[in-house]
C-alpha cells in the first residue's frame, strides 16, 4: 500500500463502493463459492472471502482489468450493463462491440452444458482472446 501512487489510492477509494455494488449485480444469482471456484479454474487466486470483501468495497488494492474481465466472464456478464458500468468506473476500455460481447456470453452459457474440463479450456481461450494474451504452457503440443 505504501508504494502505491497516491492518485491511484484516492481514485480507488472513490470508486470501490460503487464498484462493489456493480460486482454484486454482475454475480446475479451465482453463489460467491461458485464464482470463487470458477475464477480459480481460470487461474485467478480469489477466495470466497475476497469476493465478499470486493463486493462490500473493503479491499484496499484496486481491481485489475484482468480480474474484472475474469469476474464478468465467469458470470456470463460481459454484455451486461453492470460490466459496462464497471469498465467506465475503473477507466478501462475493451476493444469489443456489444454484439461481440453478446456472442461471447452466449458461448459461455453454451459451455455450461459441457463437462468441467471442456468448460475450463474454452473459458481460458475466451479470456485470452478478450485480453489479447497468449499462454502456450497450458497446451500439449
Amino acid at each position: 500500500m505504501a508504494e502505491r501512487d497516491e492518485v491511484q489510492v484516492r481514485k480507488w477509494d472513490t470508486i470501490r463502493a460503487p464498484v462493489g455494488g456493480q460486482l454484486r449485480t454482475l454475480r446475479a444469482g451465482r453463489s460467491q463459492a461458485q464464482l470463487a471456484g470458477d475464477l480459480e479454474d481460470l487461474g485467478y487466486h480469489l477466495s470466497q472471502s475476497s469476493i465478499c470483501r470486493y463486493e462490500q468495497g473493503q479491499v484496499d488494492a484496486p481491481l485489475s482489468l484482468e480480474r474484472l474481465v475474469g469476474w464478468a466472464l465467469c458470470c456470463e456478464g460481459l454484455s451486461a450493463p453492470a460490466f459496462q458500468e464497471l469498465l467506465a468506473l475503473a477507466g478501462f476500455r475493451l476493444p469489443w462491440t456489444q454484439p461481440d460481447l453478446d456472442s461471447m456470453d452466449q458461448t459461455l452459457r453454451h459451455t455450461r452444458t459441457l463437462p468441467l474440463p471442456d468448460q475450463v479450456v474454452v473459458r481460458r481461450r475466451l479470456l485470452w482472446h478478450l485480453l489479447g494474451l497468449e499462454d502456450d504452457e497450458e497446451w500439449a503440443q
Binding site: 476493444p95 453454451h110 452444458t113 463437462p115 474440463p117 482472446h129 489479447g132 497446451w139 500439449a140
Partner: protein, 236 residues
C-alpha cells in the same frame, strides 16, 4: 475495428491436390513404429507414413501457414474440437487424444467450418465427439454439423469440388463472372443452379452423398464450364 479475414480459398487450394494424390494412392500398411506419426511431411506424401497422421499433419500445417493458431489441449472430454474467430485472430483446438482418423477428420472439419464462416467479428463453434452432442442443439446447428462433416470428408478425399460451389469460399472465376453460351441467361441460370444445389446440400444427407459421387462432380463441373464459359476460354 480490426476484422478477421482468412483466405480459406487459398488454404483449400493448397491442400486439396496433395490430399487427392494421397487418396488416389494405393493403401499401405500403417506404420506402427513409435513416433512414426509425429513427423510433419512436406509436399508429396512420404512413403510409409500413416495416411491419417499425414493428413492431419498436412491440414494442421496448412492452417498454421494461413495464420490459424492450432492447439491440441489434453483436457477436452466431450469436445472433439472447437474454434474461436475474433479480432485477435483465428484459432482451433483439437483434442489431443484423438486417434489418427478422427484427428484428420477433426482438422478437416475445422477447415470446412472456416469455409462456412460468414465473417462476423466474433464467432465460436464446437464439434462434439460421437454421442456427446448436447440435446439442446437446434435443428439448424445439427444441419450445419452435417454439412461441415460432408465438406470435411470431401476435403479429406482431396475433392472439395464435391461440395456445392456456393458453399466454398469465392474462387477467382466464380459464377458472377459467367459469360457462357447465352450470356446473361447463362449467368442467371448458373446462379440459380448453384443456389439450388447449396440449398439441397444443406437440407439433404442423400444429396450430400450424391453430390460427392464422381459422375455428379463431373456433371456439375461440365455444366458450370458450359454456362460460365470457363471451358470455352480454357479451350481458347
Amino acid at each position: 475495428m480490426m476484422r478477421t479475414s482468412l483466405d480459406v480459398a487459398g488454404l483449400l487450394a493448397s491442400v486439396a491436390p496433395a490430399l487427392g494424390r494421397r487418396a488416389a494412392a494405393p493403401l499401405e500398411a500403417p506404420d506402427r513404429r513409435p513416433g512414426a506419426a509425429s513427423g510433419a511431411p512436406a509436399g508429396a506424401p512420404p512413403a510409409g507414413a500413416p495416411a491419417e497422421a499425414w493428413r492431419a499433419a498436412l491440414l494442421r500445417r496448412a492452417l498454421e501457414e494461413w495464420g490459424v493458431r492450432c492447439r491440441e489441449p489434453v483436457a477436452l472430454r466431450a469436445l472433439e474440437a472447437f474454434g474461436v474467430v475474433s479480432a485477435r485472430g483465428v484459432e482451433v483446438a483439437v483434442a489431443a487424444d484423438l486417434p489418427g482418423p478422427e484427428r484428420a477428420l477433426a482438422y478437416a472439419r475445422c477447415v470446412a467450418r472456416l469455409a462456412l464462416h460468414d465473417d462476423h467479428q466474433f464467432a465460436t463453434w464446437f464439434h462434439y465427439r460421437p454421442g456427446q452432442a448436447p440435446p439442446h442443439l437446434t435443428p439448424a446447428e445439427r444441419r450445419t454439423g452435417a454439412v461441415v462433416d460432408a465438406m470435411a470428408r470431401a476435403l479429406l478425399a482431396g475433392r472439395p469440388e464435391a461440395a456445392p460451389r456456393d458453399l466454398l469460399p469465392a474462387a477467382p472465376a466464380g459464377s458472377a463472372a459467367a459469360s457462357g453460351l447465352l450470356g446473361d441467361c447463362s449467368r442467371a441460370l448458373l446462379i440459380r443452379l448453384h443456389r439450388a444445389s447449396s440449398a439441397l446440400y444443406w437440407r439433404s444427407d442423400s444429396y450430400q452423398a450424391l453430390r460427392a459421387t464422381t459422375p455428379m462432380v463431373r456433371l456439375t463441373s461440365r455444366v458450370h464450364e458450359l454456362l460460365s464459359g470457363t471451358g470455352a476460354s480454357r479451350a481458347a
